[in-house]
Symmetry: C2
Subunit: 333 residues, 2 copies
């Protein structure tokens, strides 16, 4: 029987860097982000180039913070939400680093961490970067309506985060270790409302967390926190309920990056934040700092992705989800 | 200094399966494909669902051929060219197998082989599947013009292959071994003609092949063939020329899947075939059979991807390329 949960060895977090836009920097996590842009265009002529620039500066920041040159980074795992993942590919051509493009919707950051961990543990790399991004304006344009249209958003809808996060993993020992990864399966419970991504992704998160806990013989109490990517308010409730039905109560340990990044009430983001850049910037900013300071000692990070496209929604197809989990522990505590 | 070329250990080709559409089955490689569909809709109501069905039946075929159940396949690496890679995600939700979504344009099949090889070699999986697909009609609709428009194609344009290929890699010994993988860097020489993808991708292929040969101390003569993904006629000439400038002559050893799959003159495909499904179906059909029969003893497979989107082309951006290489050898010869 297959084991979903894998145990990479000697994989440590070397550095992180997070970049966000204006709205994100006005939210509750303001102090934790490394770069905050007041101009969501980042001086570029269009949203796509702005997102690409955001991702590029984030990788540069993580390299500087890790005191690594491009030559010393063995591989970059990257992805975003733009068609054909052009935010990543246009950003990364400047770096001259072997490039592995990923698409896992908003689960991409954790997918990259899983793959980078296995690559390092297998002895194929010393240092690997993982980076993802999203941008509210490029996402609105591609997935929903032009900004000028003034779309009225449903209560369950989420606000795509303008942000990017990069984590550099390494075999060099640090205070934060990746102790397990659980790549997820596709789960489809038939949700077809493109304005309720949290509900579409929650079943996948539940499936991956359940597999992870069973296979590692752990309970939610063994973690300081179980942190999902961007289920936001609606999806988070559903996740807790789905796991409760399986006899697992994560409600006291659960946090969600989509809920953490915005003040839902005062920032008018409806259900909360979303996007490839949400979990990436919240992990690379807030969570990694809490792990470094010791305020969090061990966490399970579970990024969730909604597998759909504007075409598939028009075809009336349901939206399935996938979630990948990564376990971080402080070493020596 | 980073080494691009990596040496996975104990990684073997367990099974392959290839599926193609009508035009491909009328081409020179007809006898090598496992499944040939006369109806390019595969009984579905639209091209997107047809492509998804093609990919799904291909994975099923590879599992059957490997005598594996879904439970025995540890991971699936998959990707395609549709926005948000929905051909893969919709096809694979039936399988209940941990899913790693990739986007590397037409390089995705080799990218998956690189990642699956490292995953198996690192001890994280026994059996991994790699699958990609493309469909002429879904690609025309998304990237170019609706079929009804009757687009006049330029001489340098390529014909997207309707096809899918799946390879299952395993730690179980077989007669074909993966001996090295070389993940590629993004290379951009400034080509901006979306009707000349071969030219856009050739520099990346040259870069990866050059790195691979230097790092392994090999010459083209050490291989039966160096086989690129889908540079087709124009890109192949350019690749040979670029390597000649670096003192390497691959012209006598070079084959290209985009040139092999069609009879360019009689099938009116202009420069040749392309798409994620081109290298996947030609490898999983033709090449793997030649390796099994011993007619080919060792090859370097180099799949190339053009990193662009319809939006990036409209923005006037250049088209960069990426190429990943995988070295196959017969064991015991």
């Amino acid at each position: 029987m297959r084991k979903q949960t894998l145990r990479p060895d000697n994989v440590y977090l070397k550095s992180t860097f997070s970049s966000v836009g204006k709205k994100e920097s006005e939210g509750p996590l303001n102090q934790y982000f490394d770069a905050k842009y007041k101009d969501d265009l980042l001086g570029q002529e269009c949203w796509e180039k702005a997102e690409s620039t955001l991702l590029k500066t984030t990788v540069s920041g993580a390299l500087t913070s890790a005191k690594l040159t491009c030559d010393e980074l063995d591989m970059l795992f990257a992805g975003d939400l733009l068609n054909q993942c052009t935010a990543s590919s246009f950003a990364l051509k400047a770096f001259d680093i072997p490039f592995l493009g990923l698409y896992g919707a908003c689960s991409t950051f954790a997918e990259g961490l899983c793959l980078a961990s296995m690559t390092i543990s297998g002895g194929f790399a010393k240092n690997c970067g993982v980076v993802t991004s999203s941008h509210f304006c490029s996402s609105q344009k591609q997935y929903r309506f032009p900004l000028e249209y003034g779309e009225v958003r449903t209560p369950t809808s989420q606000w795509t985060v303008t942000g990017s996060g990069c984590a550099i993993l390494s075999c060099d020992k640090s205070e934060i270790k990746i102790t397990a990864v659980t790549p997820g399966r596709i789960v489809d419970l038939g949700v077809s409302d493109a304005n309720n991504m949290g509900a579409a992704m929650a079943p996948a998160a539940a499936d991956t967390i359940y597999s992870h806990l069973c296979e590692t013989n752990k309970s939610p109490d063994d973690y300081d926190h179980i942190i999902t990517g961007d289920l936001a308010l609606v999806g988070s409730d559903l996740l807790c309920e789905l796991l409760r039905q399986k006899g697992i109560d994560i409600s006291k340990k659960h946090l969600d990056c989509g809920s953490l990044i915005f003040d839902a009430e005062n920032q008018k983001v409806n259900a909360g934040g979303s996007g490839c850049g949400c979990v990436a910037s919240v992990f690379s900013g807030y969570i990694s700092q809490k792990l470094k300071s010791g305020e969090m000692k061990n966490i399970l990070l579970v990024a969730t992705g909604a597998l759909m496209s504007p075409s598939s929604v028009l075809l009336g197809e349901s939206i399935s989800g996938v979630a990948h989990a990564v376990e971080f522990e402080r070493t020596g505590d």
